[in-house]
Symmetry: C2
Subunit: 433 residues, 2 copies
Amino acid sequence: MTTETYAKYAKTASIMTASASEEIKNRALKNIAAALLENKEKIFHANKIDIERSEKENLALPLLKRLKFDELKLKEVISGIESLIKLDDPVGKTLLSTELDKGLELYKISCPIGVIGIIFESRPDALVQISALCLKSGNAVMLKGGSEAFETNHVLAEIIYNASVNSGIPENWLYLVESRSQVSEMLKYDKYIDLIIPRGSNEFVKYIMDNSNIPVLGHADGICHCFIDEYAETDKAVSIAVDSKTQYVAVCNAVETILVHEKCAARILPALKQKLEEKNVRIFSCEKTLKFINTEKASEKDWGMEYLDYIVSIKTVSTVREAIDHINKYGSGHTDVIVTENTDNADLFMNLVDSGNVFWNCSSRFSDGFKYGFGAEVGISTNKIHARGPVGLDGLLIYKYKLIGKGQTVEDYAAGIKKFKHKPLKNKKFKIN
Amino acid sequence: MTTETYAKYAKTASIMTASASEEIKNRALKNIAAALLENKEKIFHANKIDIERSEKENLALPLLKRLKFDELKLKEVISGIESLIKLDDPVGKTLLSTELDKGLELYKISCPIGVIGIIFESRPDALVQISALCLKSGNAVMLKGGSEAFETNHVLAEIIYNASVNSGIPENWLYLVESRSQVSEMLKYDKYIDLIIPRGSNEFVKYIMDNSNIPVLGHADGICHCFIDEYAETDKAVSIAVDSKTQYVAVCNAVETILVHEKCAARILPALKQKLEEKNVRIFSCEKTLKFINTEKASEKDWGMEYLDYIVSIKTVSTVREAIDHINKYGSGHTDVIVTENTDNADLFMNLVDSGNVFWNCSSRFSDGFKYGFGAEVGISTNKIHARGPVGLDGLLIYKYKLIGKGQTVEDYAAGIKKFKHKPLKNKKFKIN
């Protein structure tokens, strides 16, 4: 089958998954969890092949670690599925109900988006998590995982597909795309695929955004900032900045630039430098900063760098507004932090920094669907439409309007014979009868 | 100034309009209404120039009618502004609040999208309506109107801009783009413009969708269907189908194809043909239909045609599923109607037809923001993300997450020293203190 045929079949399947009952979806999730457990030796064996091959190919250690699918990962994905089962069915919720006129009732009803294309990194547990999210939200899905995890993904997708279809989920609702060339093909089928969620390297996300008419949900960059205001407490500020930078450097919500108000520079910078250096962070500083601490010198390009490493740039600013303007200019709209004991400055910062996540007195690393309590995360979005910030199940849903009449025509209203009432039905639930 | 400079200034302005107070926004709307009234002779004079020029250029009569801006239109736009003033400020609403842990509170807060590019048709009243919507929702806007309305739009934009800026709305929040070449330029500035809303000809909307990385909200086609089920009442069915087709043929929510169940074809088709012909509708029928009525013969291309005229295609189908499949294949996901007295068929149709608006026993022409009671309409969207169907003020908003802590770092949670609570705060309103 061609990739286009896959996409077409997925579209057809999505019409049916959209109206799959809560019972069938939850049964399928339960059976997927059971099948994963039952076939664990097969999964671990496939994963061993992937790891051995990747070791031979000298895959970097952090990637090898992410590739591993062991008892612990299995336990985690099963616990994830179990929490999804407990969630209310997100499909079919009445979001608005209005009596337009007597016997003419409008309902806004949540529904799945349709076919989601998800391209994800080397973690095979992401495949399980994403499939489960798509199933619960009634979407069909085309998945492409990292090639390092080829064998593991293949086995996992097979187990998930069979367990779900045997539970009554429509055939063709899930496809595992296994070659890179198929991804470029997928990008063409805006007729069949409604949304692409890429999780991976920046270059790849940018490539997708530039090469498809399909809407993309995600972020290309995570250039996050921590601004230490003149009214910041030293210990709190240093602790938040260091955690934001070093708690996990390879992720999008790690801070790349620290901004320090000049009025507290003498107090903050030496302490900050010491703590960063204890964590082996390499520092690039602006000229003003260099008056207070001795580090390497930053150049213009440092302000737009996503290091994803034990590297940070530091800039000393004269005002809160200068910090805000710097962030809005060089940031990527992801996550930005202010540390201050001054409420007005915190308020100004959170209002004027145009990012999906604006934090006051806590680490940028909290910017995450699990930490936000969403249960599961599809990804983090720097989009300004549909979904912004960490995206949970909500991001996989849209709505449709259902209007129920008794033979009404518009001409009667145009001619003034009838008049609209527009009476809210106080979220009266849609029920056909 | 170049178009890029305009766009850049609009972006800067949008940061400030986003935090404009409800008081200032409503005062600005009030002053805009007053200024329009005060300057009405100037507006009418400009409109006269546009109309005279367009008459000389032999602009089609319906377009000339839409171009007219007279006392009635003025009254309408002012009444529109007045209803907008009465609406709650849509910005700054708390959509979710969660206590992640003691002293670590997450708030999801509605906010404007940023800079909206709107390209609209010949109606100059649309300029007033759209500007007012953007102002109320805290967005900056770049507007491009139809060239026929050049003089009227110019005067209207000037009045609106001056009245709003004098009321305290940030400078550069509104730009009127006056040449077509500037539109192609706008499409490049995804760095500054967050959303494009095109209202106009299909070709133009398609051109925009194909030529920009900026998300587009709108619809290229309005291929709407009316399906008359075997359980339809004859009079109701004919009346709904005729209203859907003829009440206003030049609009996107007019029906282009009528589907008739074969079990009621003998009963419905002759009556339908008579009523359509009374309205001078030209009919193209499939072969099955031709067994019941004598009309011109439809060809494959008719099923994908948006006639926007007194023309309709009719197809006889064997099952509800065939009707649904036809609509999902040839339709544009806009608005589709079933006429039936059978609840199960209505339910099936409304669930499986993958359109933004699915209607039971009423005209497709109800698919409209005003008729839905949204007060104002930005446009109708066939997107499957962000906003679908008629889009009101809601479509101009997104949200940001504000997280307020007391110095928390993620390392404490990673190390197991602290644990997340994820306690819902029952939509506790965000308030900084």
